[in-house]
């Protein structure tokens, strides 16, 4: 196991553990900041999966956008909301009610893990599995992505931009303290 793989597994561990803590902790603000750690570690995982542009996008969008937005939403809202975010220590009863959810989540994980175990990458008959070969560490993914975005995926790209505009307008409309807020 070379240092790169080691770092990768460490990052994977950080992802899983920090995600668990995010879900289980009672202090919401800390959980949101921990969410940042999870996302950062995930970005590292993407890098190790040779998706450096996705990783940087992950950081710039999630860390610079989503996370800041969440924190900002908390802090902009009033004191009661801030208090309500500090959840009381989970009561035993609530832990009791969480057990079915835990069982179901664990069951889903089991199913997914088992289905992963027997995974075989198989090409359809008459076609090779990797026609263009696998991605290498030295490839300029930005170049490839740029070409693909402007050729094969131009329509999804434009749709996504329109969708973003809609979301922007919608969020701005919902969030403003308009007189006509019903």
């Amino acid at each position: 196991m070379n240092p790169g793989e080691l770092i990768c597994y460490i990052l994977a561990g950080v992802v899983v553990i920090s995600a668990l803590v995010v879900v289980l902790t009672a202090n919401l603000v800390r959980s949101v900041f921990l969410f940042f750690v999870t996302l950062f570690a995930l970005a590292g995982l993407y890098v190790f999966s040779l998706a450096d542009f996705v990783a940087v996008t992950q950081v710039i969008v999630y860390v610079g956008g989503v996370l800041v937005l969440m924190l900002f939403a908390f802090m902009l809202s009033n004191k009661e909301l801030l208090n309500s975010l500090r959840q009381p220590a989970a009561a035993k009863l609530s832990m009791l009610t969480n057990i079915p959810a835990g069982i179901v989540a664990a069951g889903v994980f089991t199913v997914l893990a088992i289905s992963t175990k027997g995974l075989q990458l198989a090409a359809p008959s008459g076609m090779s599995l990797f026609p263009a070969g696998m991605l290498n560490a030295g490839d300029n993914t930005i170049h490839l992505l740029g070409v693909r975005l402007m050729t094969n995926y131009l329509l999804p790209f434009e749709l996504a931009s329109v969708f973003l505009l809609m979301a922007l307008i919608g969020a701005a409309h919902l969030a403003r303290k308009g007189k006509e807020s019903t």
């Binding site: 079915p100 959810a101 179901v104 069951g107 889903v108 199913v111 289905s115």
Partner: protein, 663 residues
């Protein structure tokens, strides 16, 4: 069509005055309307009088296979009435414009007056008993409005109520008559019924059975029909049992009294009787003659004792109406109509003159703050010098009323009296007294009218600032005074046969007899004597020495023979008592019964409620609670919590995958 126009214009005028009364308060419109009406009526009169009757009608409505018609019948009778009414109403309109000038509700007055003229004219030109009945009611209603015009006065309100109620009583008679005729002939058309060869004239009475065109009835029904028609006319024309409303109706404005209660409305009864004259059999005619005569005599005696100037004239009107009714009863409707025409003029003039006097005195008293009754003749005197025109015209009218030669009253009264004596000669029994009674009445008439004149215009002058009435009041009086003289009616001042109105109704010729000569002479002489007697009593200011205020007879007359009190005791109080008894009966017995039924129902429903609650409801509630329990149980699956839903969904998917992988 002109007649229709003439009849409808007052209605339009009424509506117009009511609508456009802002400027000059409607007087202009009202007077213009009545001028137009008069012109149209005169045209109609000119084209129709002594020509063949005009009868136009349209189909009105149909019940079953009976078609009711509505239309206009113009014969001598109706055009004469039309002309008379429009002429007098024109003069009264002009007079009113001055008399009512200061009244705040003048537009309403014009409206009511217009409505009245319309209904009266429509009444006389209508060709069907049903239409006549309609307008008859309308006349009653508009007179109700006019009598109670000064509706803030208690007396006026009581008077118009009284007039209305008594007219209602008479209307029942009219309606009953219409019903009898309709059931007998199945038509109400005047021409079909009452023309010379109409249904009534051609219905034979054979052996106590009245044979009509479509059926037959007992002859008693014929008598009843006539009697009830007369009963209707009785109320309208203020005859003996139903006469009490007319004196009270003097509470209305004087021009109204003049128009309604002297010249037109009360003439409606006479008009009706003339219209249905062929219907009357001997019994009814005798009844009519008796009632008319009695009314004439009674009213004259009452008029002797009155103090109120308008009351005197009112009783006098009743008396003169009695003459007319009696003339009809004695089979001489033409003289009744003649007297109606002449009486309309001089009685109208008398009222207008009285109105002028009252008007001036009222102004005088109002100015000096005096509360003296301006209508009481005891407070008057010496007005001859202050109001010469009024004095002259009123004297002419009074002479006409008294029946002095040279006046129209002489002609018509003679016509009535001569026919009465002619009729009386044929009668054998107690009814032969009727002509003599009428004659005595004539003398009484001369006496009371002379009393009125002497009291008002002679004697010491009381009030200094009095002067003549204004021109719009004066001129109609002068015109009417001219109409009270003989030339308008006859070229011969002493022969009523030469009067054109008499000539216009050749119903049956008056037999010329000895009466024809001496009756007029006797009337004139007796009248003169009565006037002198009156001068002796009142003119020389020696009143009271013969007719003291304490005399029983005097009080009897003053109170109108105590008819009002009698009616109060005989009709009103028993009715009130009866209604009290009935009320008590209603309260105790009827209500008690109803309440008993109600409480029975309550107890029954209590039983059913118990059943409902503990048997039916229990079953329903049981079902309900079962479903509620089930619902409560299943509700947990539908609690609105998205997370539970999602958990359940994922658990389901998970189970599915479990099955696919492990089973």
């Amino acid at each position: 069509m002109l007649a229709c126009g003439a009849a409808v214009i007052p209605l339009l005028g009424a509506i117009a005055t009511y609508t456009f009364s802002k400027r000059n308060r409607g007087s202009g419109i009202a007077i213009a309307g009545s001028v137009l009406t008069f012109v149209l009526s005169a045209l109609v009169f000119y084209t129709t009088w002594d020509h063949t009757a005009i009868h136009r009608q349209i189909s009105w409505f149909t019940i079953g296979d009976l078609t009711f018609t509505a239309g206009v019948l113009l014969n001598n009778l109706s055009v004469l009435m039309l002309f008379l009414i429009s002429g007098i109403s024109l003069l009264v309109h002009i007079y009113s414009a001055a008399y009512m000038k200061l009244d705040p509700r003048l537009p309403v007055y014009w409206t009511c007056l217009g409505l009245f003229c319309f209904s009266m004219m429509a009444l006389v030109v209508a060709d069907s008993l049903l239409l006549i009945y309609l307008f008859w009611e309308l006349v009653g209603f508009s007179s109700y409005l006019l009598i109670g015009f000064w509706n803030t006065r208690q007396a006026a309100v009581l008077a118009n109520k009284k007039a209305f109620i008594i007219n209602r009583i008479g209307d029942i008679g009219f309606l009953a008559g219409i019903m009898v005729l309709f059931s007998q002939y199945h038509t109400l058309d005047l021409v079909t019924l009452f023309s010379d060869h109409g249904l009534v004239a051609s219905s034979p009475r054979i052996g106590g059975v009245w044979v009509g065109a479509t059926g037959q009835l007992s002859q008693a029904w014929l008598t009843i029909a006539g009697a009830v028609f007369f009963f209707g006319a009785m109320a309208k024309s203020a005859q003996f049992p139903l006469h009490t409303w007319l004196p009270d109706a003097m509470e209305g404005p004087t021009p109204v009294s003049s128009l309604i209660h002297a010249a037109t409305m009360v003439a409606a009864g006479v008009f009706l009787l003339v219209r249905v004259f062929p219907l009357f059999d001997q019994t009814v005619l005798l009844l009519i003659a008796s009632i008319g005569t009695f009314t004439a005599f009674m009213a004259a005696t009452i008029a002797l004792a009155q103090h109120d100037i308008k009351k005197i004239l009112a009783w006098s009107t009743i008396s003169q109406l009695g003459y007319m009714i009696a003339a009809i009863g004695m089979g001489s409707p033409e003289s009744a109509m003649f007297h109606l025409a002449t009486h309309a003029f001089f009685k109208c003039l008398l009222f207008l003159s009285a109105g002028a006097v009252i008007h001036e005195l009222q102004h005088h008293y109002a100015k000096s703050g005096d509360t003296t009754d301006p209508q009481d003749i005891r407070n008057m005197g010496g007005l001859r010098k202050k109001m010469p025109v009024t004095f002259i015209v009123m004297t002419i009218a009074a002479l006409a009323l008294a029946g002095f030669p040279g006046t129209s009253g002489f002609l018509s009264k003679d016509a009535v009296l001569v026919s009465a004596f002619g009729w009386g000669a044929a009668e054998q029994n107690v009814f032969s007294v009727i002509p003599y009674l009428l004659f005595v009445t004539s003398l009484l008439t001369a006496f009371y009218v002379a009393r009125l004149i002497f009291k008002v215009f002679f004697g010491p002058a009381g009030q200094e600032e009095l002067h003549e009435a204004p021109a719009p009041m004066r001129w109609p009086m002068i015109v009417l005074a001219l109409c009270c003289l003989f030339p308008l009616f006859s070229v011969n001042p002493v022969s009523f046969e030469s009067a054109w109105i008499m000539a216009g109704f050749y119903l049956n010729a008056v037999e010329a007899g000895a009466y024809h000569t001496y009756v007029p002479v006797l009337v004139s002489l007796g009248g003169t004597a009565a006037v002198f007697f009156a001068w002796f009593c009142y003119g020389r200011n020696r009143s009271g020495n013969i007719f003291t205020d304490k005399g029983m007879l005097y009080r009897f007359a003053l109170n109108g023979w105590y008819f009002d009190k009698l009616y109060l005791a005989v009709f009103v109080k028993p009715v009130v008592l009866l209604s009290r008894i009935l009320f008590g009966f209603d309260k105790k017995v009827v209500d008690g019964l109803v309440n008993a039924v109600g409480s029975l129902g309550l107890s029954l429903s209590a039983v059913s409620r118990w059943t409902d609650r503990y048997l039916v409801d229990a079953a329903v509630n049981g079902l309900g609670s079962i479903s509620k329990t089930i619902g409560n149980f299943t509700r947990n699956f539908q609690n609105g919590r998205v997370q539970y839903y999602l958990l359940a969904t994922v658990a389901g998917v998970l189970l599915f995958f479990m099955f696919t992988y492990f089973l």
